[in-house]
Amino acid sequence: MNGSRWMLIILIAVVALFLVSWAIKSFPSSGVTVSWSSIRHAFFVTLAAFVTLAIFSFLYKDNPYYKFAEHLFVGVSAAYWMCVGFWSTFVGNLIPRISPGLSKFFGVPYKEFTFYYFVPLILGILLLMRLSSKAGWLSRWALAFIVGTTAGLNLIRYLRSDFISQVSNTFVPLLVQWKGAGAFFSDFSLASGGQFTLMLTNWVIFIGTFCGLIYFFFSKEHKGVFGAASRVGIWVLMITFGASFGYTVMGRVSLLVGRLTFLFDDWLGLLN
């Protein structure tokens, strides 16, 4: 048999399985009345399971089922976000502040006329000028405004949260509650509130920050003492990334568990 015939057989099998699943989900058990809503619900659950499995099929290789799910996903999401943007930004925010007539037309309560709302309206129109070959250059004004303004705002935000606050957090005492060597060694435990742990934490913060900053210093070659500090910096970064990796992977596993729960519970009904 050639490839296209195999494809046809697989397609028929998949459609048949879909229909069987739909039928079984529509008639769950004896004694339960079948209604249009249960049939509709069964259809959507089966469809969701089919699309989920189609996406999972990518783990094997690219195939027509994945392509179908991908195109469906992209098309639906693009349309959805366009609708959300239109109704929340344009109708929800702009219209109630510029026109009572349009507010009535769209069925949103008119708030009050606010002149400033014409600024984003004009910028939006300028952006749409890209569609014209002659007036396309006008869109650059809007782009320049958006990029320049928000980059300037971000500069202040980054300086405040990522720069100044972090500098002050680096000022840590290296001898926490120091009561002498005897007391220090008698409390030589890894308990989170212990003297040794507190001191170790502060040392790691100070050395890690110091060496990390040296690693990100681009104006000097990393040689000699500078190079050694830079290597310590990259080690600190890599250990941090390792911990972050493990933590995030656990989060991803929980996402997978969520989809498997959907398949085994909502679709197949195997879980209690």
Binding site: K67, E70, Y80, E112, F171, F216, T240, F245
Partner: protein
Amino acid sequence: MKRQLLLLLLLCLAVAAPPATAQTAEDSLLSGETTGALTVAPGPVSNIQLKDTDNDHGHSVTLSWEISPDDGAGLNNVIGYEIYRAPSMEGPFVKRAGVPAGSHSHVDVGSKEKDSPDYMEDYIDYYYKIRTITADSAVYAESAVAGPIQSYGQWFNTGRVPVLIFVACFLALTLYFINRAKGGADLYVRPLAGIGAVDEAIGRATEMGKPILYVLGLGTAADIATIASYTILGRVAKKVAEYQTGLIVPCYDPIVMTVAQETVKASYADAGRPDAYKEDMVYFVTQSQFAYVAAVNGTMLRDHPATNIYMGKFYAESLILAETGALAGSIQIAGTDEIAQIPFFVVACDYTLIGEELYAASAYLGREPLLLGSLKAQDYAKAGVILIAVVGFILLNFGVDGFKEFFFVSN
């Protein structure tokens, strides 16, 4: 006679019985008993001070007062205070907040949105009174009405002076180094492995006759990482135009797509190949995170790009993209300032630009005075941070805390 004797006996008993103390009253109140003898109201708060809240955008008033004499002493039956506000001396007073016993101050913050029911208008008079409450809702004391006070916003937030100083220093450094770069000074930037790999990857794609996939991430057009990525995209597009290699740029954000189209178009013009530029090289996919990933993954497996470059802001999709690229056998170069995503790129890509290396890459590849100057300024700012950290650390370890307080930035 018997009646008189009985009255005399009762009088003696009354004189001999111990007096009712504050303590017994308090105990009964706390236990929820309400008897006629316990309806003694506590003393009201006194000396209410009102002022507009400092360093804010308005719509807020700060109250302070001296607590009731029965708060923690005297009758000791105060459980808290209720703050009331009115637009006139006569009222109507509306309850704004409740604070526990022992509190000396409260900030009454209203909404700045006119259509909010909690809207607090600036530049109009407000009057306040404070009710001292007990466990019995019927037993309380009210202060005298204080006011008027008006709320208003400040033009300058003195709590953010450190930010102003750092911005001024950073701008001065940037301008100095930009001028030096424009004057022809050779500003050294150490080589980064990931940057060198960009040219190598473009060469490989050219040899293989396959396109280059450039992913700008999920950031907006104004994110610093996306801005840095535009510069790298410009450089890649110029090389691609020179070598006549294919370029695919799927975008997550429509504004990012527009800027990216402009960048690529300008690069093709710079390379002397404006005719080779096609607008659909840079296209919009969707603003749904995982739908975008699904589409880019499909592109990787169907168009087989020789090189995948991920530069910008990435979130949970980073590993899915990079793993698929590795599966497709592409050379992969990534760079992001999203700390949580760097580990995924490190394990799945051939080269990774970590955090600020992404900004350095844009300056290194662009070699423009503006970018080099700002990169140098960043370097010297880092040197300043190291110096400040060492000084602060030494001072703190010698018991001087004042230096640290300078770096406190209010909200």
